[in-house]
Amino acid sequence: MRSPDVIDLSRLADPVSAPQLFQKRKTVHNKRVDGPFRRFKWLIMAVTLTIYYATPWLRWDRGPYAPNQAVLIDLAHRRFYMFGIEIWPQEFYFVAGLLIMAGIGLFLVTSAVGRAWCGYSCPQTVWTDLYQHIDRFIDGDRNARIRLEAAPWGPKKIARRVLKWGIYLVIAFWTGGAWIMYFADAPTLTHDFWTGHAAAAAYITVAILTATTFTLGGFMREQVCVYMCPWPRIQSAMMDEKSLTVTYKDWRGEKRGSLKKAENNPEAFGDCIDCMQCVAVCPTGIDIREGPQIGCITCALCIDACDKVMAEIGRPRGLIDYITLEEADREKAGGAPRSAWKSLLRPRTIAYFTVWGAIGLIMLFALGTRAHTAISAAPDRNPPYMLMSDGSVRNAFTLKLRNMESRPRAMRVVVEGLPGAEMWSDEIDRKAAARSLLVTVPADSSASQRLYVIAPPNTPAQDFEFNVTSQDEQVEMAETKTRFSAPGDE
């Protein structure tokens, strides 16, 4: 088995066979294949694409004061809605937590089943797969496509290409169009978009995403995985000898030779009949028999292809199979094959899963117990206090009252401490000053309330609190500590 990572320096002088630093791309014309892994890929593709395209159109009733889109990133109003959850900007750590979970989830998946993310659910893989099906639909299967590519440019080829690239473009546009729906009310935005009333950012975003999808999915394809994406490089550090990976069992397959040769001399040849089916179906155009390599996204289509061939020639399946490196060594040494499931449960994967689950539980707990009411007080600093004509001392405060419920709520603000103090506001006359007052905070917003707190003459400077209680069945409470300034407190 030749390792692709070792460059044979003695061959450098021969420019033909020497590995080049830059390789001109050869278009991959992967052959159609059917099998359990291909069907699994179909399923994943259907699920992920449906989630992506359909999610913004799901509705979720939040009452008259909040949008009814299930998933909405409302940048203009700085709100993030996800079904029953609403996140304000200061709670962005929930999103950070989600991203951390996604990261650890990738660690977990990588250490357990290797590059499963790359093989099945990475958007680049899903869209490339989609575009390769378009190729097959328009131009036919592998051989027809190879012939068409080699054919000179003529009216027929041009027509084919225009049609195919047109479909590429439609899908790319649809992809970019779906993205912006997450950031505004989808039906309204769709209407605005086609009538030319949407924000410039919407058109620019769609244009950029259309261009990237068209280029990355239609033309660059596996080059993104091999040259652009950092994740395969990180994964090669994340995987260990117990991670599942697609492996050609060279100890069983070699020495490879055609079926005819092998029938004539069964002792000298292994199971591989060199039919090249594994290479033909590979979406990244590699030969898995050269061993694990950066181009292999472990989509397992070669397993499907090889199993089919093995069944036809009456040999056991699994010449190419998902096994761990450890298991490969064992089998090579003559050990009996073991179930792949055994490698999934081990300290490392359990540790990842524990951390992942713990973060999820902490976030759920924090989300479930967070208060939907908050108060903060900012004392006026210029002037810090005001001596009134009767000798009493007045301080002015700007209160911020936060109402995270999607309905207006009345809140009672009370002065706690500060003996003899009373307060009034611009709306309430000084004659009606009292220890507490009612403020109505609009739905899903923060209200700013200016207050004057007056204390009897000779009140010394001191700390005190504002308490707020929502006047509804929830009776949520919040408090904030602040300072009362008085003469002599400089």
Binding site: L12, A13, P15, D380, R381, N382, P383, M386, L387, M388, S389, D390, G391, R394, A396, D426, D429, Y452, P457
Partner: protein, 306 residues
């Protein structure tokens, strides 16, 4: 197998790339072209730069730069934004001009807009004397409190701002003149000491003395009132409260009685438009000590027919 070419160019064996043809002590340079995408980005930037120079102001000349075809300037941009902003405010300003100031509190939105506008105008015109927080200082009235020399309702404040205090050119200006009791020899230093003691006693800061009370009744009560409650008609400050424009110690009071200081305030009516003055009045009124406007009782008329 060096493949010699004219001008010393040759194909490098190891890489298969042509050299540029120069050689320095055996060191040669490979002729590796720039990546196409880089080159095209470069050409595009050149084309963009040419267009930019034509369309936008770009080349500095002796007096001013080339204006560019679009005629764009950053000053023009700013002016445009200012104009847009003004346009947006015009309805509010017109409503403000129509509304008499004492009716302003009936329209909460307009009142709020007026306060906001007044806050901005205050920062430009008033902070020099009254301070950024309108807290004033010795000799400059504090506008946050509930003590007003000339009245603290919206209309009175508007009137004070419009005509100022002690402005010779404005016939409607606030004018009051406290005699210089010590300087002009009306009272002796001893008497001034006694009357100052009485003034302090009005707010409970000193023990009363009969001589001071007698002197106060004769000399001061006519303006400041028998109990020192002040008189807004003549701008006589209330002496029985905790607020002192020129200081509240006995020395301060004696100095004021001996040779009073008379603060002046510009008549802003000649400098600011009526709407800005309205906004300023609304802002000052909103600082926490504003008083409610009370319609002066109409002169009693006897319409009863015989």
């Amino acid at each position: 197998m060096a493949n010699e070419r004219p001008h010393g160019k040759r194909i490098d064996e190891a890489t298969g790339t042509s050299t540029v043809g120069h050689e320095w002590d055996g060191i040669e340079e490979l002729d590796t072209p720039m990546p196409r995408w880089w080159l095209w980005s470069f050409y595009l930037s050149i084309a963009f730069a040419v267009g930019y120079v034509v369309v936008y102001p770009a080349i500095p000349l002796r007096r001013e730069g080339t204006p560019g075809l679009l005629g764009w300037t950053s000053r023009g941009d700013l002016q445009h934004e200012v104009d847009e902003h003004r346009k947006g405010q015009s309805a509010m300003l017109a409503a403000l001009a129509r509304t008499p100031i004492e009716r302003l509190p009936e329209n909460t939105g307009l009142m709020r807009a007026a306060v906001a506008g007044g806050r901005a105008a205050f920062k430009v015109n008033c902070v020099q004397c009254h301070g950024a927080g309108a807290a004033g200082s010795k000799g400059y009235p504090n506008l946050n409190d509930d003590d007003w020399l000339w009245g603290g309702d919206l209309k009175a404040i508007e009137n004070t701002i419009t005509h100022g205090a002690r402005q010779a050119n404005d016939p409607l200006t606030h004018t009051s003149q406290m005699p210089a009791f010590g300087h002009d020899g009306i009272l002796t230093p001893l008497q001034i000491d006694q009357v100052a003691g009485h003034v302090l006693s009005l707010s409970g800061k000193a023990r009363d003395n009969a001589a001071g009370a007698q002197l106060f009744a004769v000399n001061c009560a006519i303006c400041h009132g028998p109990a020192g409650q002040g008189n807004r008609q003549v701008g006589a400050p209330r002496l029985s409260d905790a607020i002192w424009l020129y200081g509240g110690t006995k020395e301060d009071i004696e100095a004021q009685v001996t040779n009073p200081r008379h603060g002046a305030m510009p008549a802003w009516g000649g400098r600011l438009d009526p709407v800005t003055i309205k906004m300023l009045a609304a802002y000052v009124h909103s600082l926490g000590g504003g008083e409610e406007f009370v319609e002066a009782a109409p002169a009693a008329k006897t319409d009863a027919k015989p």
